[in-house]
Structure formats: structure tokens, C-alpha cells
Symmetry: C2
Subunit: 539 residues, 2 copies
């Protein structure tokens, strides 16, 4: 059977735009194919969130399905897409379904059985689970449909939807997904897909959404796996791709397709920035360039996402900024080819100190209030440039800083998107090396110098924080692996440091509540997928 998998990039909520994508692909490919398949909830874009609670939004979905019936009229090519479908007679109960449309009629609708309810997923908020699976026939071939999370019900489990479909006669199983990128996800998917195919001796087609939607970046990487569990076709990552899979003739290649994780992270961040900007209506972005590694990495990513002519760097020195920083900021800007504006914050800092002199103790070694004033002046300047020019402000705060609160709310945490919110400092260095792997873009000194916020004389991050390898090690265990401080100490970290770090994570929940949405790249990012009390007492 000739199946076109449409790995496309929808916009959340944009039913009209998403329908146009479907219609465009259908028009282009329906003469060559017998079936064209779009990802999970493609008509609404994933995740549509509480738009699913709005009755008129659901009416628009239903109208959209009607339009799709029309375009398939008198055509031998079937169309499968993900859509929310109301339970017959119970408008308020929704199923997350794969809908099969053929020749002007809705032929079948297969709801998702295993709703996801972890991390950022809230599917039970919107959907009830499907109870049954049903095979349908098209062009003499028996097809089984599954929706994303159904895949995670392993092939060995009795209630595995794929297994049930094969028992019911399916000769091919299709999974439509909106499965976002995070490190390790690709391997996991591949393992499950291969298992399903092998165990059931059927080919498996996995059609995944691509594109950035707020915190989530969908990587695409759709796959066709043959009945021997071999990769027959691997779609590109982080790009749209609409391509034919011929289930009769597709030759199996048994090659390693898993992308190197740092390259995937980089590609995810580039796509995340590009799509956030574009889907929010921005073509240009601005960020503070400090001469440090975080802003260097973000500016390189922004250039890759938006083009060098669309990225504006702002260097904002104060009395505490070293000469090295200025030189390195300029060198970086020259290397990546972006315009660098310099606006000193020193006179403003002076003025703030003057105006607040009666209210803040005279500067003795620069306290937190004075440090934050500097960071906030910088935030204000970036926001003013954004207001004036319609530029998206990119925030360069990394996950390690966000975790322990080594960062200023309304200061360096200003912006529309947190590009590195889920990248630890260690990961930022890996990204810098990756960016430089072709030719040197980020000056070597930026990577090798000791990190400093430069908010008081001779400041180094290590004055306040443990070294980043230790900090990131502890944070990974605490945040991503949910280990207790005691377990982390047992694993080989010093008691004092572990308690300081974990207490700082708890204490800074309030800051993370107010930061820009950040691109998720690990299994556990701060943001929608991690919900903690602020006014709490724990540890």
C-alpha cells in the first residue's frame, strides 16, 4: 500500500491554518497514494490545552472535519488525522482519536486508549480513554490505528492496543503521535516500535508532529518499521517532511538512525526559538550579550533560527564589567555576524543608587539589592527595545541558575522565551563546543574563562555556588531523578553542599513561577511538567 506520512508543523488553535496544511498535502499527494496520514490532534495543533474546553472551538473542529470529507470525495486516497471527537450523544466527553476519512465519509474513528497524565500531559483533563480497538479495511488491506501513548503500552502487555489490533487481523499498525523531543526519547520510541513490530510481525508506521509549541519541541522523526523490526524509512528530525512509504517495496535498511544527543538538543533549541518567534508573530529577536557562555550560545542558536540580520545583541556594561567581557562580546558578535548595540547601565545604576540612598544601606561590598538593580536595569533596556521595535526578547538563563535562583527576576530573567531554561550549565558548555565543532564561532576564551555575573568587583559564580559539575550532578539527581537529599549524599556528594543546593531549589520555586516559558529538552524541565507548591515547607 502506498501511504504518505505527513510530518507537518501545526499551530496550536489554528484550525483554519492546520486545515490548509492538510488540504495542501492531500491535494499534492492524493493522486500517488492510497492513504495520507497526519499526526495526533493535527487539526487543533498539539497541545491545544483548554481550547478543548471551549464549545465553539469544538464546533470549528467538527466543521473542519466536514471540509475534509468534501475534499476526499471521489478520490481513492484515504485520509487519517488526529482530532478530538465527541462521544455519541455526550458532547462534553471527548476522545483523542485517529479519524479515517474516505470518499466523503468518516469511515472509522479510533480513540486513544492510554491517556498520558505525567509531566506536562493533562489528557484526562480533556479526554476519556477509548475502550475498544477496531480494524478497518482500505484497498483490501486491514489497518490498525493507535494514537501516541498507546505505543507505550509495551508489546508484552495483555492490553497492548497494537497487539489487540493484530489479533483482530491488522496487517499494518499506524501510530499517529505528538511526541515531543527530550533527551533519550528517540531511543525509547525506537525500542518500543521495534518491539511492537517484531512481537506482532507487522509493519509499524509512526507519524509524528514536528515543530515548537511553547515549551515543547516536537522532533518529527517519523518511522516506518518493517515486520522484522527493521527501520525501513526514517524521516528527518526537526523539519517538515511529507513522503511516500510503499509498504510493498520499501527496502529495509538496518542502520543506526539515532542522532547524537547534543546535536538533537541544538536542533530542538533552534526549532523551538524559530517556531516560538514565528507563531507569536515575531521576525526579529534581541538579547543581552555579556561576553559569557550562556548569551553566546543563545545568540548562535538565535542566528541559526532567525538569520543573523534578525538578531540584535545588546552589550550593557557597568563598572563591574571587565575589559575582557567587552572584547569577547564584540568578538562573538563579529563571529556570528550580528549587530551589537552598546548601552552602558552605569549612569542609570548611579542614579538608582542615589534615589534609593535613603532606603538601602550604603553600598558595602554590593549587596543583593544593588546586584539585582543592575540586572533589572538591563532587563528594562531590553524590554524597552522590544516595545519600540517589536523584537522578541530571548532570555539566556540556564537550568542550573534557575534551579538555585542564581538569577534576577525581572532582570536577566526577562523575555518571551527561555532558550536555555532546561539546559544545565554543563549542557551549555557542551552546546558551545558543538556550535564550535565546524569552525570557531564562540571565542575560546568565552568557554574557558571562569563564569561571573559581574555584578560586584571580582565576582565569580563559585563564590556563591559549588563548581558546576558538582552543582549539576546534584541537581540532576534531585530534580530529574526525584532523589532525596539523603540519597544524593549517599551517592557521594558532601552533605553540606547537598542541603544547600536542594534548599535553594525549594526556596526559589517562586522565581521559576514567573520566568518566561522555557524549551524542554530533558525528561524533567522546570515549567508545565513540574508542579510544586510555592508557599510550602518540605525537604
Amino acid at each position: 500500500m502506498k501511504i504518505v506520512a505527513a510530518q507537518l508543523n501545526p499551530v496550536a488553535g489554528d484550525i483554519k491554518g492546520n486545515l490548509n496544511k492538510i488540504k495542501g498535502a492531500y491535494k499534492k499527494h492524493s493522486s500517488d497514494a492510497e492513504l495520507i496520514v497526519f499526526p495526533e490532534l493535527f487539526i487543533t495543533g498539539y497541545p491545544p490545552k483548554d481550547l478543548l474546553k471551549r464549545p465553539y472551538f469544538l464546533r470549528c473542529v467538527d466543521e473542519g472535519i466536514e471540509e475534509l470529507k468534501e475534499i476526499t470525495q471521489d478520490c481513492r486516497c484515504g485520509l487519517i488525522l488526529g482530532a478530538p471527537v465527541s462521544v455519541e450523544g455526550e458532547k462534553k466527553k471527548l476522545l483523542n482519536s485517529a479519524v479515517f476519512i474516505y470518499n466523503g465519509r468518516k469511515i472509522a474513528s479510533q480513540p486513544k486508549s492510554f491517556l498520558s497524565e505525567n509531566d506536562f500531559f493533562d489528557e484526562r483533563r480533556y479526554f476519556i480513554p477509548g475502550k475498544n480497538v477496531r480494524v478497518f479495511e482500505h484497498m483490501g488491506k486491514k489497518i490498525g490505528l493507535t494514537v501516541s501513548g498507546d505505543l507505550w503500552m509495551g508489546a508484552d502487555r495483555k492490553n497492548c492496543p497494537a497487539g489487540k489490533l493484530v489479533s483482530a487481523g491488522a496487517e499494518i499498525v499506524i501510530n499517529i503521535s505528538a511526541s515531543p523531543f527530550c533527551i533519550g526519547e528517540e531511543e525509547k520510541r525506537l525500542r518500543f516500535l521495534k518491539n511492537h513490530a517484531l512481537k506482532n510481525r507487522v509493519p509499524f508506521l509512526f507519524v509524528n508532529q514536528v515543530g515548537g509549541n511553547d515549551e515543547l519541541v516536537f522532533d518529527g522523526k517519523s518511522l516506518y518499521i518493517d515486520e522484522n523490526g527493521r527501520i525501513s524509512k526514517a524521516f528527518r528530525g526537526f523539519n517538515e517532511q511529507v513522503e511516500l512509504v510503499d509498504t510493498e517495496s520499501e527496502a529495509a535498511q538496518e542502520r543506526e538512525i539515532t542522532e547524537d544527543s547534543i546535536s538533537s538538543v541544538y536542533n530542538a533549541l533552534v526549532l523551538g526559538v524559530r517556531d516560538y518567534a514565528c507563531k507569536c508573530g515575531f521576525s526579529k529577536a534581541v538579547l543581552g550579550i555579556s561576553g559569557g557562555v550562556d548569551s553566546s550560545v543563545v545568540s548562535a542558536i538565535a542566528v541559526a533560527a532567525l538569520g543573523r540580520e534578525n538578531v540584535k545583541g545588546v552589550f550593557m556594561p557597568s563598572r563591574y564589567t571587565s575589559c575582557d567581557s567587552r572584547e569577547l562580546a564584540e568578538k562573538l558578535a563579529a563571529n556570528i555576524g550580528i549587530n551589537l548595540i552598546t548601552i552602558s547601565i552605569d549612569a542609570l545604576y548611579e542614579k538608582f543608587s542615589e534615589e534609593l540612598s535613603g532606603f538601602i544601606k550604603p553600598e558595602s561590598g554590593v549587596n543583593t539589592a544593588f546586584e539585582n538593580i543592575q540586572a533589572r536595569i538591563r532587563g528594562n533596556i531590553l524590554m524597552a527595545l522590544s516595545n519600540e521595535n517589536g523584537w522578541l526578547v530571548l532570555c539566556a538563563g540556564n537550568k542550573s541558575e534557575l534551579a538555585v535562583g542564581y538569577t534576577t527576576l525581572y532582570g536577566d530573567l526577562s523575555g518571551g522565551l527561555g532558550v536555555l531554561s532546561d539546559a544545565s550549565k554543563t549542557m551549555v558548555y557542551r552546546l558551545a563546543e558543538y556550535i564550535n565543532s565546524g569552525s570557531v564561532t564562540i571565542p575560546r576564551e568565552i568557554i574557558s574563562r571562569a563564569p561571573s555575573a559581574e555584578l560586584r568587583p571580582w565576582q565569580k559564580d563559585t563564590d556563591t555556588l559549588p563548581s558546576y559539575d558538582i552543582l549539576d550532578g546534584i541537581l540532576q539527581k534531585y530534580v530529574e531523578l526525584s532523589m532525596s537529599p539523603e540519597e544524593i549524599i549517599e551517592s557521594g556528594y558532601k552533605e553540606k553542599i547537598v542541603y544547600e543546593v536542594t534548599r535553594a531549589v525549594v526556596k526559589n520555586e517562586y522565581k521559576r513561577r514567573q520566568v518566561p516559558p522555557g524549551l524542554k529538552i530533558t525528561e524533567k524541565a522546570f515549567g508545565d511538567g513540574r508542579r510544586m507548591p510555592i508557599a510550602g515547607r518540605y525537604l
Copy 2:
């Protein structure tokens, strides 16, 4: 039977502190009572959120239950409390249970059947639903337990847990709850409780949590309803109360206990501010006082919550601040008895204008960039005072402004808590009248003058926005009732205004993502209970 209902205020995550509250109440009341009842998930505080995903947190809960077994040893008073309970043999599956402990043993555990999955509730994320109900006997009386949401399964429904318990012989049904305040909730609860009692001809004891936890304020208002559906005992709202209910002798009063909604809203906000401050470790708060109604209402609420000596007002005039505003700010501060600091932002504004003169078009009528700079200078000053003195910054932005984005991110939206985030401007005026209902606290002119941001000459809110009665009418229909723009127009609003307002709501999703947590008082607040895409396109 003598039952003590312990309407207490837990801290989220603070197992040790919550256990101490349980032990204290048990020690004090166990000699007079046969049963003492604590609210839903009281041991963890509600909502514990993703702490429930941390294995060591759950181990601490289990250890806590063991401690409670010990204190009940050799005592005739049983203890019922809400706790997460692992499914036998499946550590990772949790039930939201009412646990009955008596004489050193866990006698029974009744899981919640109907998990809440709407608004801010994410119970499926943590729990699986209970399947069965079981009556247990204590001191010769058959008792049925239900947990919060079980109540909402109406008495007429076949699968109503209360009905099933009565069929199984229950002579009294107890509901332990963590049911937060919102307008209309009290009436709804009362209606359901009365129905349950009447329909089943059993008395019903409803024991609710009290206290503020981040966005949510639990109002308490526990109730004992007799078998004729009459209110036999009504606990106080917004206060702790631990009191005996004697099911044999409690005389039915059939009186109207429903509090006036504006008084409830006021009490909810006062408790919300007090608990957020106290549970986050603040004793003092600071806010900008502009001479407008929002900051006046917030300062009055803050004084009620924290005491006048703990509230600092800051008046921050610019060239656009009217003389009236200064006078009214001073009069307000004098009336409510708080210290008012004045810090002019004019020199700072001048300096910003100078420093940015090459980058922002010269001020022609003051554009958005210049308006926002003023608001952000004010935000920076408040945050500096907070950093210096450890004061909690209270944000006075109201729901109408937040809805349409008539407010500055990192400016007037700075702070730890959004006191009026869920109060429309119309509601703010009602609150002002309520606050003044005893004696005049908020100067009348503040209530009667036309609202203005005073960020440019002669500015009035109505230059940009429709009048607040129209704006709030549209917002209520769009945000709270999920009506479509077309339906709102049909209901009698002008097309142009409806589209402008609803588009502004959609466009400003990004701002609301970064605002301080705000106290929920309506059925649909911005915040955790309303989840919308930012990079989306809809309407």
C-alpha cells in the same frame, strides 16, 4: 456519637508541621470525643502537587501514619485523616484516601472514587480512583467515609458513593474535603450536602480544610447536616475551628448560613495574603500606592492580613502624577495607618530617556516603551526595597487589566502575590465599598475619580479600554463562561468592542504566564486552572 471536626490550616509539604497539628488537636480533644476528623490529604497539606511524585516524600507520609497509630494506642478516640495511600503491592499507584486509625491500628481506608480533573485539579496525575466503598463500625455506629469530590456525584445518581454507603448500612456519612473558596461554591456545597442527607436520611458531616495555599484559599465552613437536611452546626469561614459535634444532641437550626459574596471575597483575600506571606516566611509586605482604587483596596486587605505596622506603602510619582493622586495616597495611608514612603521616579525616568535616546524615537506623546519604562522603574524600586528589607511585594493588578494586558510585565506586575488577579475592576470597586462599609477608610474621591495609569499626560483608562462595566461584562462571558465572540455579540455587545477585547485576551497570554500567582475567587481565574497556548492562533 461525639465527633470532633478539626477544621485546620496545614502547610503544603510540611508533613512534620501538619502531624504536629494533628497530634495537638488529638491530645486536646481525644478524651471528650469518640472520633476526631481531619480534612482531605491533611498530612501533606492540600494541594501537595508533584511532591506526591517523590518517593521519599511518600515514605515520610507512611512514617507519619505510624506515628499517628502510636498516639491512638489505648485511647477510645478514633482518628480520621486524609492521606495518600499506596495500592497494596503497587507502590507507584496512589489513592486519595480517608484513613481511619483506632487504638494503634489502621482500621480502614476509603479511597476517593471521583477524582477531580477540572480547573486547577490534576488528581489523575497522582491518583487512581477508588472502586469500592466500605462501611466501618466504631463505638457501635456504622460510619461511611467519602472524600471531597465524591460529594459532587449527586444523590440521585446510581453510583453516588454516599448512597452506596447508606445502602451498605452507614448511619452517618463523613466527607473530608479540601474544597477551595470561589464565589458560589458555598451554596453549591450546601445544596449537595442537603440533598445527600435528605435523600439518604442520614446525617452528613463535611470537614473542610482552611487556609491559603498559593492561588487557592480554602474557606473551611465545615458543616453538620442532620438527616432532615437541616444545618445542625456551621463552622466559621476562613478561620481554624476544632469543635465537637454530638450527633445525638445537636439541635437543628434552620438558618441561612450563606455569607454575603463580597464579604466572603474580602475574607478570602485577607486570608490568602496572610497565609502566602506567613507560609513563605514573610512578616511584612510592601506595595506601590498610586492614589488609585486597586492599590487602595490591596493596602486595606494587607493591613487586615498582616497588621498596619507590617505594611509599607510606596508612593512613586512622576511628571504625569496628578496632585490629586499624591493627596489621595497620603490620605489613604493616614486612614489605614500605614507608613508611606515617597520616592520620585522622575529623575530615573529622565535618565532612562537620555540613555535610550539613540534607540527609542524621541518622546512624541509618550509611546508604550516610555510608559513601560515608568512602570518598570517602579517595579525595580519595590523589588529593591524587598531585597533590602525582606518585604513581600504585593501586586495590585486586577483581572480586567490582566485579561487585556493593560499592565506592564516586570513593572506593575512585579511581586510575590497578585492580590486582585481574579478580581475584575468592577469587583475591586465592590471591595472598596465593602471596606468602607463600616467607616470611610478609602477616600471617596479614590472611588469616584476616573481610573488612570498616569503614564502620560491626561491619560484615562477609557482612552484605551471600553468602560469597565462593558469590559467586565465581555470578559466574564469570554473567560468565565467560555462563550465565543459571536455569542457575546449576540448577547448584546458591540461587535467591534467584543473582537478587540477577546483578541487582547488571546494576545496577552504571554504576560499572564509570567505574573505572580494570584488569589482565586471566581470559578475561572487566570493561573493554574486556565491553561492556554501562548504561541497559538485562535479566535
